[in-house]
Amino acid sequence: MQSPAARRGALRRLVATGVAAAIAGLSLAACSSGSGGSDHTLTVQVQAAQVPAFKNVVAKFEAQNKGVTVKLQTLTDEQKITTNGQIMAGNNAPDVGIVPTNAQSYTDLIKAKALLPLDDVWEKSDLESRYGSAIADSLKSNGTPYVVLFDKTLYNIIFYNKTAFEQAGITAPPDRQIASNDDLYQIVSALKGKGYEGIANGGNDGYRWGWMLDAQLYANASKSAFDDLTTSWQAGHKQKVKYTDPEFTDSVKQIKDWYDHGVFPEGVLGQSDDQAQALFTSGKAAMILDGAFSPPEIDKEKPGFEYDWVLMPGATAGKPTIPTAYAGDTFAIPKKAKNPALAKKFVELFVSDEMQAEQAKITGALPAVTTVDPATIPSLGEKVQSIVAYTKDKGSGVGWTSVLPGGLAQSFFDPQMQKVLGGQQTIAQLAQNQQQQFETFTSQNAR
């Protein structure tokens, strides 16, 4: 039996031992996170759909760099445009992160100087010429590249069910371009007559209406107006075309007209991308708004019908849309990366011609560099090849939501458009709100 004094002594020793153990534990934890992860482990972010392609590059990288292990950190579509900004700036930042250039986090990371400049990677990989000047310029911030584009894609493609078209007696336009709104309404009306819905679209997913606007703005606005709309948010630019001007609102009106004419399925404002794809692959909707990345996903569902693709009309008859290019899926290396030198080597390997061709084969995404011709990659599939061939001939458009920061374009515009389509506000109100957002954004971010 111990005396109270002895018990107090024992208690003190116990507490002291506990505190010492806790300190030792914390120190060990600090050491392990500081060193164990730094020398031989490279953390690279990846989107779930791209894991197979990344694993291929990882295998090659690990073989080239003995003793180095690459850990893949999977991101969702939602995370990459929202919470990943904080991860990239945090103390546990990955070595190579994914930063879409049209996400608000990209603007914020640049503003906070949280990314490493990658001039050396660009120079070593000759990216200035391999991207082409237009894309290379769009990837720089005040002339400095902080990101490396690793793939490209094309969107604003309307895939259609060939069987449904045949049943409705519709002949698809030979040049793939639906010439006018009237033509579009006739197609949808004929399809509805045979029990099909029109163009399936993930109307509540927060970016699909912005996509449509991208194609419309490129087709409808004058070149000078379009250039102004896509650059006026940047520092040193003065806005010439306001969002309340017809150059912008005419394109919004176009989408509203389609909606009012029942071009989209019943309930489109409450449907996600997955639900839209299910409507198309199940044969309920005869068309779907998608991109060059979609055929593998559609084929996976074994739709049971042949399909092909067309393009939406512009506001002016005879001036249709063309596919919109997206070149914003980029790698960035955080300033707090533990292995910046290795990270740069990984990025350089990823954008090499060999790996670009490999990743296109595996994922179906288009190579980011012009030195790899998609036509030489048969596994991209007939439809993707035909879209690429079309853009080689007719060109591709620049997307307003693809080049503007998310807080100004994509994230802001889509809910506004939903309100217009749902009758909660007018086009004029949308335009005023968009202009107000522009003024607030530029006063806070760019100037």
């Binding site: 445009i81 904080q86 939903q418």
Partner: protein
Amino acid sequence: MSAPRAVSASGLAVEATSRARGRPGPLQRRTSRAVLVTLLPGIVALVLFFGVPIVELVRTSLSSWTGIGDEEFIGLRNFQQVLGDTAVLKALLNSVLLGTGSAIGICVLATILGALVSAGIRGSRVYRIVWFLPGIAPPSAVAVFWSLSVQPHSGAVNAVLGALGLGDTHAWLAQASTALYVVIAVAIWQGAGFAFLVILGAMEEVPVSAYEAAAIDGASPLRRFFSITLPLIRPVLSMVVLLEAIWAFNGFTLVWGMTKGGPGDATAILPVQVYKDAFQFGNFGPAAAIAVVGGVILLAFGFVGQWLGSRKAADE
């Protein structure tokens, strides 16, 4: 065993003397120290996981911050901005509607179900499990399931209505006037199971003798329910209403999973607004201010609810 007792007795004597002098005695000091040591882990945990985040939240709400880099102190400007922002006010209204609508719906439904099972309807053992099942489903899965189920043409609900001749083209989630009610209905469906179990437990605590006495006096089952059951379970009921309202008020997952706050901002609640402001627009200051406003409202609601619940209980 006599020695410790002797020491203890002696300690008490010293303690009595010390207390007489106005100073704590050794036993009291030891007891205080032991209490402090026992409480310390809890206090540290509270400070770390509750106090620090709240202080950080309030600090952020008084700052301009993109979520990356340095914060700039701007005083109450964020609060002025969010309280004058129609989108935030709309989100607040939606939160209140979702909170009250689902809490009332859940409690009414759970009370009816509880009364039926408590009365021993046939299959009540099975119902205890079946009615609780929606409560254990992950909210994200519930959101996906119901958003698919209410789609026009292809959704199960529309298919049933179509089969009944009531049309299968109802696009409730696509209409600003109906989308929030669908979310409330789903919140009720999911929340009723938990409330049912708690309320049933309270009902089964009501003394059988009270029902027997009422039955002898000729009270009908309905009268017994309103005059005996409800008054006696009122404290539990008010607590359940309070909890369900708070959970629904903060019910981000269900709303985001079903509608992302749309169409437009028709179903945006305060947590959705916080998420959008912080992570889509990089405005952490206003987002934190919205969170503070929501927290204060819930705190006030909690106090009022608890006061009402305890007051009624005391009356009884």
